[in-house]
Symmetry: D2
Subunit: 375 residues, 4 copies
């Protein structure tokens, strides 16, 4: 019995087959079996730096065709979504060409190497009316949806404070060499992972109006490459602490730190309200702590992810079984397909990513001038 | 550029498109993009109860063909692996027919409704020399691999005690109706989820020699179906506590409990040794607690899953990002493909599943006779 | 300005100035400043093995007089309460003589070396009508009072299961020598610390009716004394696992383990009900976990000790500041003074301690006979 | 047998019998039974606002005499230590008079209402050569001693970052009325509890050189008294976030927050080093988290307080039994007695308390001027 359905097909063109490329491919492959979408993504074309890499990637990841020329991928009639997981410096030209071709663009974060570039991309996309999506996948977590519902519904009363952080340890060792991450253009802990906690703060509490930040380089030199004896200076921050004032008047702080020994994925926050609080860390991404109750019963409740927290039930009908990081990417892709088919906005889009990026730049400016800076 | 690879293809025939069927399909679809396998699984045929269900499942899950006749699936030349996610009572006939056809069999747990049936299936598979695998997927967790390495290497000294549990709350409410889970043939908390902690105990510490168990029905009646006013007696246990003696002399206890308010997925254990200990709960499946150190530095260390814990790195190059439940199924499928291509044994296989099942039955016997029972 | 009050004075005679003796003395000294008691305990006489030890103890602990003759302490007119912290084998003669003299008796656990002896002491005390108290101080914790209130009020629905444990690691090392703890008369992990979890289980859920237990000696030999090369066999258990049936029909399990690497003071339990659950460990004695809520808000709430949990407020007006182990002893003493002045019963008294002790013996019997034993 | 020892006696004069007064009295009463001190404190005189309050306090707390005139207490020949737990505004005159009389002064924090006043007190004490001690009792915790040893020994490598906080919820409710805490002179969250995390930061990492702070009043009005309908403006901060640069170059942040719903006593920090990290919260004051290890074994180890962590063993010979808040005060008193008898410095003394206070004021200045401020 033949089984092809009559759903519309959406051809995917994926640029890049590294870590994030694999995540994208896996998500596009899995999403139709997990979500009931209005269209079916089809893995059409994969582009990478050389024919060999592209072909190997396409075979492993299940794409129909491969190319070393990303421009031909963008131009390909079968491709309706251009998914960009290439180096940051290429995001702008790739996205602009895809926008010009009327394609939806799904780009990894950071959107570009400067806020100015991100704004240019945003304005091009808006002028062309194409759907855009940027891979701040941690926002897709059902427990983050729950946190946002709790905050916005007034369940914890008036919000009074925010304390956020993204701390990891992958650059804690001074022997870890330079890489694209330490490139002055777009690199540093604040840009690399601070952007996640900034996007989270905006997602949960709205715009950030003013910042006072302290960016610090812990290891002033690093090897030029792995195992090299040559060392050169580091021009980006390893750790940034910042004070925040949100447009709503809420105040708080964030930390971005890629040299935080002991932390692997501490994208975390605590939001304090007049009647309750919520706390979360990505290190325990299937849990949300919610403070409620009074008197002898007041306490932080540990809520475990389950089917009561959409779209968890798409992955598993029983609570406590855990979503993983790659599942967040599947949710991101499902929302992208919906936006494309329903002409909706897929948040966070290019404009939102630009907002994040200019907040990063305001913090960098504040650290240089040692003054509060309006975003 | 064409991208088809020259890897052997392994045709998958999947029986059942419910929760576990979707898990299987997702795993077969994702595994090639994540693991470097000696062959590529291909989703060939999906069987379910009716043509409509089968066709809908095949479309959603990406199978080439669909059928309402599982026997035709088994007989299909394109099918090399028969994956069984049908009701437990059908496992034996389906598996025996697949074995007779020389197919590898990948069956969900419990292997069958009785240990006798499970043994029959085991002996048939061994006589035919086909690869078998049973879906005790929790054993696939990288943190369980780590726990097993730590225990078997002597890192915690001589093992002295075991304390295990599988507790969930899905039957805690007396209004939850009868279902296949409460069927006297093969149902009950001990058989349904106690089997997981038994398989875990065996995986980590070897055979269980003797048991003294106390099976208890908490809710003596349940509605015959959802929202029905008709109630009928419950003949299976809601909760079992058991004492264990392992063949190695280690003693301990387990609990199986599907009425455990507060627990969603507490498949947990603590293994105590003369120099250390390990503790785990599936509710925090990306963590293993390992006790070590001495004097002022002794303590339980919380180890977060990362690329140092194979095969975590297949899913993500950075620690702390989390695997999810569905990822365990991908690992299970990867090991199955390896076993098929390398004529190896894929543990836990039918024989191991039979060992688990007869341990369950020994506990049930012990509870009836109120005596210690040798397994 | 003179400050002596007109409250009645209660003279304390303390036998023993070791760890528990110091606890008693500290508690009697502190209690009047913390609680508003109907009488004031006065540290009158301290007895210990020799004049020197007794005098040094009395000076350090603030007793007016000292003696090497406990019988003179018991006979002393100034002494109204005899507090016994001497070796277990002496509890019976000391208590019987104090009872005969009409004194209240405050005895450390275990009450005696056998249940028969404990019963003899109980019957003597009841016949004489003296107040007795036994030092199961962990029951005095405000969080245990909260747990008991929650369980008895029906807040978690009908109780369905119990899982208890007292695990420490002080005998985990096979080089730890023999001591009074390994004396066949009254020693072993079950008698030493298992008695705590048994008293806790009874305190929270009532009488235990039947048991099936497995007592195991992990280290079959130990040095006769510290650093000795001479070793002799161990005749007591290092670890006991037991199944329980309470008189109420609830079933469950306990573990007593003094060789539990990784655990320092895991006197812990989880009580499961049809609508909620409570969980506790003495390792976090200022917290009670209470499961409640439904749907998307269900979860274990971590309640921190505070003034809402009497008598916490006697020690500190602010929550979260922590009571310590020694504070539990102060509460125990406050309840003793109240019972003496109000002719009340001070639970746990000798009778309750006897109930605990015969439950221990029933478990030992069960392990020997390998049968279920009624308590 | 008489038991008076020949140790020197140290007469204590306590001013105030409220919460902190009771803590002091309890500590002076208990310390000789727990520590082997070179002298024995004797509770001589208690002063409070009226004769009645003083007499009642003296009776409850075991002082020999009572007075409504603190000057007579200071002048009393029996008094060698003046312990001040009176309102903050009285600290200066009381301390200056005690210093003039050559008495040791043990003062609750904050030392005074302004840094200028604190400096005056400091200089007077140093000129007179009297021992001073200020009640930053949280520093006395054995786990803080452990943290300091780990940091200062280089065990976690070079320290790179600090993240500190003192958050409680006692002012979270806008209906909580004005009190001395909201008095512009010396009040506010930063002065009240922020001082604790500042003293902790200095204790662990040394002087703070520069700050950028944001003090915020969450509830702009509060009732003038409990249940009053009259409200008046609040002139102090409910919450302060601050960036720090230590003299050593380490950067970090702190938060002081008395409106932090969900937090009862979160005096907490995380110190990150190049090879490890330590983390602590007073809410779990008997635990220190220490990150160490590498590869597959790296993780945060939860170290439970025990006799390996002096002076825990003074309170209990077994680990995991817990010290409480009041025990910290006993340690503080023991250190004071040692300093008095050995002419040593008792840290934190007046000078250190002044350093904390001027750091608080630097933060307040920074918040007003919106500039970085050198301390």
């Amino acid at each position: 019995m033949a089984c092809d359905d009559n759903k519309p097909k959406i051809g995917i063109g994926l640029i890049g087959s590294g870590f994030m490329g694999r995540c994208h491919a896996n998500a596009f492959g899995a999403v139709s079996g997990l979500f009931d979408l209005p269209a079916r993504p089809v893995k059409s074309v994969l582009a990478d730096a050389t024919d060999e890499i592209a072909a190997a990637g396409a075979r492993a990841l299940g794409f129909a065709r491969a190319t070393a020329d990303w421009r031909s991928l963008v131009a390909d009639d079968a491709v309706r979504v251009v998914a960009i997981t290439a180096p940051n410096v290429l995001h702008e030209p790739m996205a602009l060409e895809a926008i010009a071709a009327g394609k939806a663009v799904y780009c990894e974060k950071p959107l570009s190497t400067t806020a100015a570039s991100a704004l240019k991309m945003t304005e091009a996309a808006e002028a062309a009316g194409v759907v855009t999506s940027v891979g701040f996948n941690f926002l897709r977590n059902p427990m983050i949806r729950l946190a946002r519902d709790i905050v916005s519904s007034g369940e914890i009363g008036e919000v009074t404070g925010f304390r956020g952080r993204h701390a990891e340890n992958y650059m804690a060792d001074p022997r870890t060499p330079h890489s694209f991450r330490t490139d002055p253009q777009g690199g540093g802990a604040l840009a690399d992972i601070g952007s996640h906690i900034i996007s989270m703060a905006r997602h949960l509490l709205g715009p950030i109006a003013e910042v006072s930040a302290d960016c610090r380089t812990i290891h002033s030199e690093r090897p030029v490459s792995a195992n090299s004896a040559d060392r050169k200076p580091v021009a980006v921050d390893d750790m940034t602490h910042a004070l925040l004032r949100f447009a709503s008047g809420i105040s708080g702080s964030i930390e971005a730190n890629w040299a935080a020994s002991g932390r692997t994925m501490d994208l975390s926050f605590e939001i304090t309200g007049s009647r309750g609080a919520v706390a979360f860390s990505q290190e325990r991404m299937n849990e949300l702590l919610v403070y409620s109750g009074s008197g002898a019963r007041a306490g932080y409740r540990r809520i475990e992810a389950g089917p009561s927290h959409p779209p968890y039930g798409r992955f598993c009908p029983a609570p406590g079984h855990h979503l993983g990081f790659n599942d967040l990417k599947v949710i991101e892709v499902a929302e992208l397909i919906h936006a494309i088919m329903e002409n909706g906005r897929c948040m966070p889009d290019f404009r939102e990513a630009w907002e994040v990026q200019r907040t990063v730049e305001a913090m960098q400016t504040s650290s240089s001038t040692r003054e509060w800076v309006s975003v």
